[in-house]
Subunit: 181 residues, 2 copies
């Protein structure tokens, strides 16, 4: 894990950002979910250069998110398939889709509709608590250092700045400051 990207302390958001935090990778993953498998099909992403696409695909294969499979022998050609780890990333894409549909549609409605084939309805993803099933919001979560956090870093100023204050109720732009509500 790259300490620079992790900003000197372990954080899953930083680790995921290290993998997908660029202008192309989320679109490559979206396409993989939509059934795109071959290099030239991914390359239909307008504006992506071949070097950039190759580098991103290689990084996703190295991370175990995509796996290659030979579909042609002569010349040899690989296709790219989501692994279980990659399929599980759909949670992140679905969250992006839901938020984008809600806040960025400029009143035109969602460009793409998602049907849940288990219930047959047009739906969006909702983020709920794994324990009680309630909607998860920043109002009702608190963060603290976990089992995987190195004890020797716990007292560093950049760590204490983020994890020692009452992090659950940051002030908001509409004035709901801690203790004021």
């Amino acid at each position: 894990m790259d300490d620079a990207t992790e900003n000197g302390f372990p954080c899953s958001v930083a680790r995921v950002t290290d993998l997908i935090g660029d202008p192309w990778t989320p679109l490559i993953l979206r396409d993989a979910v939509l059934g795109v498998r071959r290099y030239d099909e991914f390359h239909h992403l307008k504006g992506i250069g071949r070097n950039t696409l190759s580098q991103r695909l290689r990084k996703l294969v190295e991370a175990g998110i995509l796996a290659t499979r030979l579909y042609q022998d002569n010349p040899p050609r690989n296709e790219y398939l989501l692994t279980d780890k990659g399929r599980d990333l759909f949670g992140v894409l679905a969250a992006m889709l839901a938020w984008g549909d809600r806040w960025l549609d400029e009143g035109a409605g969602p460009p793409i509709a998602m049907e849940h084939t288990r219930c047959g309805h047009e739906v969006h993803a909702e983020m709920v608590c794994s324990d009680c099933g309630e909607h998860l919001s920043t109002d009702h979560v608190q963060f603290r250092l976990g089992a995987g956090f190195p004890a020797e870093l716990a007292d560093r100023p950049d760590v204490r700045l983020r994890y020692s204050r009452d992090a659950a109720v940051p002030a908001t732009a509409d004035g709901r400051a801690p203790g004021s509500g």
Copy 2:
């Protein structure tokens, strides 16, 4: 909306990527959720340059994700607070956190623990269907052009490639190809 980033057709994932698809913005948003508000505190993100940080904060303010509030008059200094739109982006961060904790902890356990104060348990985010409440996976979703998709683009090859096939059951690396299951 930038057509280049949208690859020529409207897509919420592309729109969100346009806002947060870089190595820093998810970390700035994480810090905002953790209660960080001031420029110098955000700058504790090791490795981010001042120009880059200023540019990212400005972009988030322009997008209505952060709002500024004067906290000091002389010299004037703004702090950055999440708006309702920005707080709602927690869904994306929580999905990243859950996936990173599951797949990238290298056996050490989650670096950061999240408590849901409504139920009092240490939890992770789960992505469920807004209609039936079941877990959402790529196996059980189908995508089609929605209300906000321009009719004149529907027949373009790059659009048909992604949205006309049976997109719900892409082949996976472990061999579950369409029709083989």
